[in-house]
């Protein structure tokens, strides 16, 4: 995804999350899927791993959202052609 090996030596086109529709489709799905609107209100059971399934599903969506956003920051954002070695405190 980072494309560091295949396009080494060539000027890279800027990558910007806003230009990747899939980034926002996935974000929207993970946010909307994490809200328990599609479960019957008042439902507690079934329990999975001792936790109500609806809550477990919501938690899984949030973990996936964190993973997705973290991944997007690292791979879909490259506006400047920067030296890989810089950074640090």
């Amino acid at each position: 995804m980072t494309g560091t090996s295949e396009d080494a030596g060539r000027p890279r086109a800027p990558r910007e999350p806003i230009r990747r529709p899939w980034v926002w489709i996935v974000t929207a799905v993970l946010i909307v899927g994490g809200v328990p609107w599609y479960w019957p209100p008042g439902t507690v059971h079934p329990l999975v791993l001792g936790v109500p399934l609806w809550a477990l599903v919501s938690m899984a969506f949030t973990v996936a959202l964190a993973a997705h956003l973290s991944h997007v920051c690292r791979t879909q954002w490259a506006m400047a052609d920067e030296d890989e070695g810089e950074g640090g405190a």
Binding site: P14, E16, P36, G50, S70, M79, E82, E86, G88, A89
Partner: protein, 502 residues
């Protein structure tokens, strides 16, 4: 939090040590960078040279205030599993950043921005839009700061066990905060955030460990207890609450990313690589901070069943008291936790105050009162007005007004109204100055009006988002109604990216 059994002398010792360390950091920064106070960019943005570790911690410590611990655990206690939304909305903030930060960072570096409204001035020109945005931001920042000062009072009162009048302790802490901020500006604030962020993380982790110990060692047992005794806290919420959940995720996700002190941390990053790495790590922090506090709130349901709304506000103090009684290790850790909570409050307050001062310095004083004033003078004026603002807010904190109390809670509702100017303005060339100004004014009036009228939401949607919808509508329709090319619309954004997009 007024009856912590472990408060008193050890608490005073922790707070004193903490104050000394922060002052030491401020002094060290000012010695290492003698010119730090002379320029707007060096004082308010650390010269734009914050590295990955410091940037990460300053983003973290500014974003997570003491309220994320002492306020969110009681919310989980009252709402049960529905409060998981707090973890989602804190995570969504990274999505909010991704909407504008990549391009804004590039433009800000190229154009040398210091305050968020610099973007508006660059993109739209004119004076009224940036001024209105600055006023909305100042109002939101002042209310946010007021909240931190009230929380600081409660935290310190709990930790000192009433042995020091808490007003005196708060003033002492405010003086320390002002001193290190004055000595080192953003650089000092960011370096103290490293210590403050670590203190908060360690504190909430130990609170969870202690709480679990008391609750019998497993979260499963806690959940069994909730299902058996208060099943409504484990049940799927009504549809209106789900709408409210989604609304809060969107509002906080966008609004918190646009906090002026958050935007200024984007400007302060030393490179794009540093910024995206820090935000990439930040995406995981809600799980280990808000998620842990959520679990602590659920444990509270088992440990202290039957608390009413007011009593539940004391939940973290109640659990900490019990945890401190386990053994000496937990006793010491609970003192450090409350030191961590005070640290989280101070770290948010100092960032907010610095941002407030920067807007006064650059957007109000240097732009409208004394155009052409040198930067050193502008920095001095910003500092002075910042101190006056803290003094007024302290008076308000200790003598809460009985009238129009709701205007002191307006934060996100107003802040989020600058979103179209940033997010649409960065990508849509036709967005014009007039519609942006009127949209912002209409959105702020509607959102503020709803809050003042006591209307929390409309069919579950928060007033801030209702205002934002009106705001966006005015921006889009107003811009489309203008003839293309009518009036000056500077080309925004990044040159290369612009070319590749067109």
């Amino acid at each position: 939090m007024n009856e912590l059994t472990f408060g008193g002398a050890p608490g005073i010792a922790v707070l004193t040590a903490y104050a000394v360390i922060m002052l030491g950091i401020g002094f060290w920064v000012s010695r290492r960078r003698p010119g730090v106070r002379d320029g707007l960019k060096s004082y308010y943005l650390a010269g734009g040279h914050l590295g990955a570790v410091v940037l990460f911690f300053t983003l973290y410590a500014s974003q997570y205030s003491g309220n994320n611990v002492v306020g969110y655990a009681p919310a989980a206690y009252r709402s049960g599993f529905t409060w998981w939304q707090s973890v989602t909305f804190m995570t969504a903030i990274i999505g909010g950043y991704l909407l504008f930060a990549p391009r804004l960072y590039t433009v800000a570096k190229r154009e040398g921005f210091v305050t968020p409204t610099d973007w508006m001035r660059y993109r739209f020109g004119g004076a009224r839009g940036p001024l209105l945005a600055a006023l909305l931001m100042l109002w939101a920042l002042a209310n946010f700061l007021l909240e931190q000062l009230v929380a600081m009072g409660h935290g310190i009162a709990g930790l000192t066990g009433g042995t020091v009048p808490y007003q005196a302790a708060v003033i002492g802490f405010v003086v320390v905060m002002l001193a290190y901020s004055w000595m080192g500006g953003m650089r000092a604030v960011a370096f103290t955030d490293v210590m403050q962020g670590i203190a908060l993380l360690v504190g909430v982790t130990v609170l969870l460990a202690g709480g679990l110990w008391l609750a019998g060692g497993s979260l499963g047992g806690v959940v069994d207890h909730i299902i058996a005794n208060e099943p409504e806290k484990a049940a799927v919420p009504p549809v209106r609450d789900s709408v409210n959940w989604l609304s809060l995720v969107v509002m906080v996700g966008i609004g918190a990313a646009l906090y002026p002190h958050a935007v200024q941390r984007i400007y302060a990053a030393d490179s794009e690589r540093t910024l995206k790495r820090s935000l990439s790590r930040m995406a995981w922090m809600p799980l280990v901070t808000t998620g842990v506090v959520f679990a602590v709130g659920l444990i509270g349901i088992r440990l202290f069943p039957g608390l009413d709304d007011t009593e539940s506000e004391q939940l973290v103090g109640l659990i900490a008291n019990e945890v401190a009684g386990i053994n000496v290790f937990f006793y010491v850790m609970m003192i450090l936790l409350f030191g961590g909570v005070v640290a989280a409050i101070v770290s948010t307050a100092d960032s907010v105050l610095l941002s407030l001062s920067s807007i006064i310095s650059k957007d109000v004083y240097a732009r409208h009162i004394a155009p052409g004033a040198d930067e050193k003078k502008a920095v001095a004026v910003g500092k002075g007005v910042g101190v006056a603002a803290v003094a007024v807010l302290l008076v308000l904190a200790w003598n809460p007004p009985t009238l129009l109390v709701n205007i002191f809670v307006l934060k996100f509702e107003l802040l989020i109204q600058v979103a179209p100017a940033f997010i649409l303005g960065l990508y849509w060339k036709r967005l014009a100055e007039g519609p942006v100004f009127w949209g912002m004014a209409a959105g702020a009036a509607l959102a503020g009006g709803l809050v003042l009228a006591g209307v929390e939401d409309v069919y579950g949607v928060h007033g801030g988002l209702v205002g934002l919808a009106l705001n966006t509508l005015v921006c889009v329709v107003g811009s489309l109604m203008r003839r293309p090319g009518a009036g000056p619309v500077p080309v925004p954004g990044v040159r290369d990216a612009e070319r590749s997009a067109d």
